[in-house]
Structures are given as structure tokens and as C-alpha cells.
């Protein structure tokens, strides 16, 4: 029989992923090891997230795939077409609110997620402690005892050297008061969205063979000091004005910095392309937005 099995993975592999997922949800923030399968793409290209998506999606459900906020970048396009190919009967969308399942690389959508939605994040390095402890055996002990003093020393050294915490992404975050996770390379901007998120957030690391979760309405506190609190990126310009997106004018979203190739000027645009489009639609009416999206 030459026909592809629905979801590419065989049912045993899916069962394994689901079992690991259940355990991950039951122990918030704990990295559950699982038998990550070979996928027809290199490890490190989102195979962890992909296996989660393939094991969880069903016919009739709607999927959105994003890569750093964009539905159109290479990783997102490749993963989307692979999932469409192997899961006949599913729908895809670029609209955050229409999706049942969102697989994302390094961003959480700007639009708040709902209880009936599920976010899958692709993770390159699942263990936040890997920067301070090379041995996985000892890391497990540290996790078990919730001893994150060495990570905090790292923050301390940052403040000593630079007067602030300089971690830009993969910000260590304590889940449900115990395990500290590496929330995948999402910017700091997205870290507060983990806290008491209505949607279930699953994180999958294919190369490192780990699945972990931030269940709905679970505490997620970024590590910080009592008197040096966590803060998100500051998008103020030299005058102290909040920069806005050059395309849609939104001044409340996470911005990417570009250099305008014509003028050489620095410009800022929403990182979340769907958010940007929807802002435009609201302002200019649906017709124009469609034109922009097509153009």
C-alpha cells in the first residue's frame, strides 16, 4: 500500500507523543522525554513542533503555521505544505482567530489566544539550565530541587556588568512555582503571554527529544530579582515616543527593525504579519487590505 498514513507518523508514534503531552500537562514545566522520530527534514527545523502538530491535529480542524510572526517565511511555508500534504482534510489559515491549532517558531501571536485554541512552539534548546550546567544528570537534580540559583547568578552578573538583565530571548521562566523552562526563543515581549494563558501552550524539541507544557491558566513568572523586575522590550525612540509600525501604524505590537533599501532609513514593522494586516483592514476597510495582502 503506497498511500500515506494520515499525519505521516504511525499511530504508535502519535500515541507516544500524546502520552508525553499528557504527562507534560500534568506536570507543568517538566520536560518529558519522548522518542522523537526521524522526520523528512533536518532536526532543528521544527521537528519537535511538527510531531506535536501531527499527533494532535484531526480532520476538519484549522491550522496556522508561523515563523517569527510571519506566515510566509520559509520555515512556515515548508511546514504548512508538509502538514497539508500528509493530513488531508485539514484547513489552513493565516488568521489567528480562525485557527484551532497554531504552530509557531519563536513568536506568540499578538492577538490574545482563546481557551479552545492550542499553541505549539518549536524549541531548539529545552533546558534553561544548559547554560550553567553541562551534565544532564546534574541538571535533572537541580530541576527536581527547584535549585535555580545558578541561573539567578547569571542574571546577577548581567546586572553587575550592564546594569540590567541582557537576555533577549529564551528568557528563563518559572512555571507553576517550580520548574523553570526555556520558553523557546520567543522575545521577552511574549513571555508575559505565557502567564495565565487561556490556551494550552505545548513546547516540543525534536532534536533534544523533550516535550513540555504551560497548561491553561498556569502561573508563568520570568526569573528576576525583587528589586530588578523583569521588563519587556522598549520600543521608544530618542524622544521617548513609542515607535509605531510603518505599515499599519500600530504602536502596541512587537516591532521588527528593517533598513529601507531605497532610503537607507531605519523603519519598524509589526513582527506579526496577520496582526499588521488586520490593523490595516480595520483602518482602511476590507477591500484595500486585500489589495495590500495580494500586492
Amino acid at each position: 500500500m503506497n498511500e500515506e498514513h494520515f499525519g505521516f507518523l504511525d499511530e504508535y508514534a502519535k500515541k507516544e507523543v500524546r502520552r508525553a503531552t499528557l504527562k507534560a500537562v500534568a506536570i507543568p514545566g517538566y520536560q518529558v522525554p519522548y522518542s522523537s522520530r526521524e522526520m523528512p527534514m533536518g532536526r532543528g527545523f521544527g521537528t519537535g513542533g511538527l510531531q506535536l502538530t501531527l499527533a494532535l491535529i484531526g480532520r476538519g480542524e484549522t491550522l496556522k503555521v508561523i515563523d517569527q510572526g510571519s506566515d510566509d517565511s520559509v520555515n512556515a511555508v515548508n511546514l504548512r505544505s508538509f502538514i497539508e500534504m500528509t493530513c488531508p482534510g485539514i484547513h489552513t489559515t493565516i488568521r489567528t482567530e480562525q485557527a484551532d491549532l497554531i504552530q509557531s517558531r519563536h513568536r506568540i501571536p499578538e492577538k490574545p489566544l482563546r481557551e479552545d485554541q492550542l499553541l505549539v512552539l518549536q524549541v531548539p534548546y529545552p533546558d534553561a539550565l544548559v547554560v550553567v550546567e553541562a551534565s544532564e544528570d546534574r541538571r535533572k537534580l537541580l530541576h527536581g530541587e527547584a535549585d535555580y540559583s545558578r541561573l539567578l547568578v547569571k542574571l546577577y552578573e548581567d546586572i553587575v556588568k550592564f546594569s540590567e538583565i541582557t537576555i533577549s530571548h529564551r528568557y528563563p521562566t518559572r512555571i507553576n512555582g517550580h520548574y523553570v523552562i526555556d520558553p523557546s526563543p520567543i522575545p521577552r515581549w511574549d513571555v508575559p503571554k505565557l502567564h495565565h494563558s487561556p490556551a494550552l501552550i505545548l513546547l516540543g524539541a525534536g532534536r533534544e527529544k523533550k516535550i513540555y507544557a504551560v497548561p491553561p491558566y498556569t502561573q508563568a513568572e520570568p526569573l528576576a530579582f525583587e528589586d530588578v523586575p523583569f521588563r519587556v522590550e522598549d520600543f521608544s525612540d530618542e524622544q521617548g515616543q513609542r515607535r509605531s509600525c510603518v505599515r499599519c501604524g500600530c504602536n502596541s505590537s512587537f516591532l521588527d527593525e528593517y533598513v529601507d533599501s531605497a532610503t537607507g532609513e531605519q523603519v519598524y514593522r509589526c513582527s506579526d504579519s496577520d496582526w499588521c494586516n488586520q490593523q490595516l483592514e480595520q483602518q482602511q476597510g476590507v477591500d484595500q487590505a486585500v489589495e495590500v495582502a495580494n500586492g
Partner: protein, 276 residues
Amino acid sequence: MDEVLSVRGLSKRYGQGCPACYELTGPRFETNLCPRCGSVVAAHDVSFSLYQGEILGIMGESGSGKSTAVKCLYFDEPPSAGSAEFFDQGEAYQLFDLNKAQQRRLANQRFGMVYQNPHLGLNFDISAGGNIAERLLMSNVDNYAKIRQRAISLLSRTEVLAERMDEMPRNFSGGMQQRVQIAKALATNPPLLFLDEVTTGLDLSVQAAILDLILEIQQQSRTSMIVVTHDLGVIRLLADRTLVMKYGRVIESGLTDQILEDPQHAYTQRLVASAL
């Protein structure tokens, strides 16, 4: 006086062991290598009590088991036999019956250890202040300014310039590294401090300064200490009571003055005579 630590019959054997190990080793046989099975009896039947504010010296040549005894008490190595009870804040802890997590918590928060080699006690990849911060963060202090303040006061107490607290320990001299190590050990105000050959390898004036510092800490904080050394001068200066060890056994124990002035065991006599 309040007892802080009570050690009974502490033994440590490396190797498979046989029933004859303890009977065929020790000073009487001038070996700690079991002739039957080849196991090494590093320490056997070490018993002592330590009281609050007291400094107990453990003296002996290399390989006599003095460091092994201390390593067992600091949970660096599990003992083969024996018990140790630690009395702290109205509670008694059977040290070797605790699980690993409880042991680590105790070692991190209630014990301090200063090794001969600063590389064992300090993390050389983080600054001197960071090393102290690590101990504080383990005991759940999470205020940056408070940690900073405490590190400065500890370092100034151990006479490390506060301006150098953000430097890496590898930029420091041996004596300075030892001072940082002592500051780190003191970070949580531990009631019990282990000092393993802390002055070995330092030059004489630095040795004197470190010993002064240790005495000062003992007098100010009433910290109990176990000082392991092969240096009679250190014992004479620091220790109230002393154990003399050889081939893993305690061969003599008592008041330091008594041992140094009127040694009973032949080995101690030779040791004292050779030093004078």
C-alpha cells in the same frame, strides 16, 4: 556548652571490603591497605563531639584520613559506617540518614566549607561577588541590592577590597582567592565551618593573616569549626581540642596544649619533636 556535632564510629572504606579489613589495618599494622582484599580503609571508628564556638583540629600526615572524615561530614562522599548528628536551631539531624536533597540543603545553608584548593570551592567563571551571591540565592534571598550589600560586607570582613568584587577570582592572588572562599563559606552565617588545609601553599605572612581572620570569625560569630591540617603551628594557634590521626584511626585526642606539650602516642611524640 551546646553540642553542635556528634560523630560516632565514622568509617570510610574504598574498595569491595572484607570482614578482616578493619582488623588488619591501622597504626598497629602500619598500613591502611587491607592485605586480604586490597581495600583502602581511609578512616575507621572516628568519634568526636564539637561544641558551639569551638575549633576542633584534626592533625595527621597525608593519607591519614583526616580530609576523608571531613568530606563525609560535608556530604562530598558517603561514609561506609557510622553516624553523625547535627544540632541546629533546636533540631537534631542524623546527617547520614537524610536524603540527598536534604543533605544538599544543609550543606548549602547551614555548613560552610573552605578547601585547600580554591578551584574546588569557587566557581572561576563568575565574579567574586557572584560566588557569594550564589550561596545567598540558594537560600532564597532574591533582592539584588541586599545580595550586593551582603557580598560587600562579607568581602570587607575578609579583607578583600570591595572595588574588586566584580573581578574574576582567577585575577586574584592565592591568598585573596582563599579569602573569597572564606567569604563565600560565611555567606549564610553557617553555625558549622569545615576548613581543609586552608593555609597550605600560602606564604607565611598571608598564612598569619588568614589564621587571624579565622580566629576573628570564631570569636565574633561563635562559629564552630573543624580544622584539618598537617601543620602543627596552625593547630597550636587555632584548635582548642585536637584529634591526631594515622592510617585512618584516631590515635590520640585531647586538649591541644596537652597533646603538644605531653604527647602520649609514639607517633605524636615524633611529630611534635620533629616540628620543634
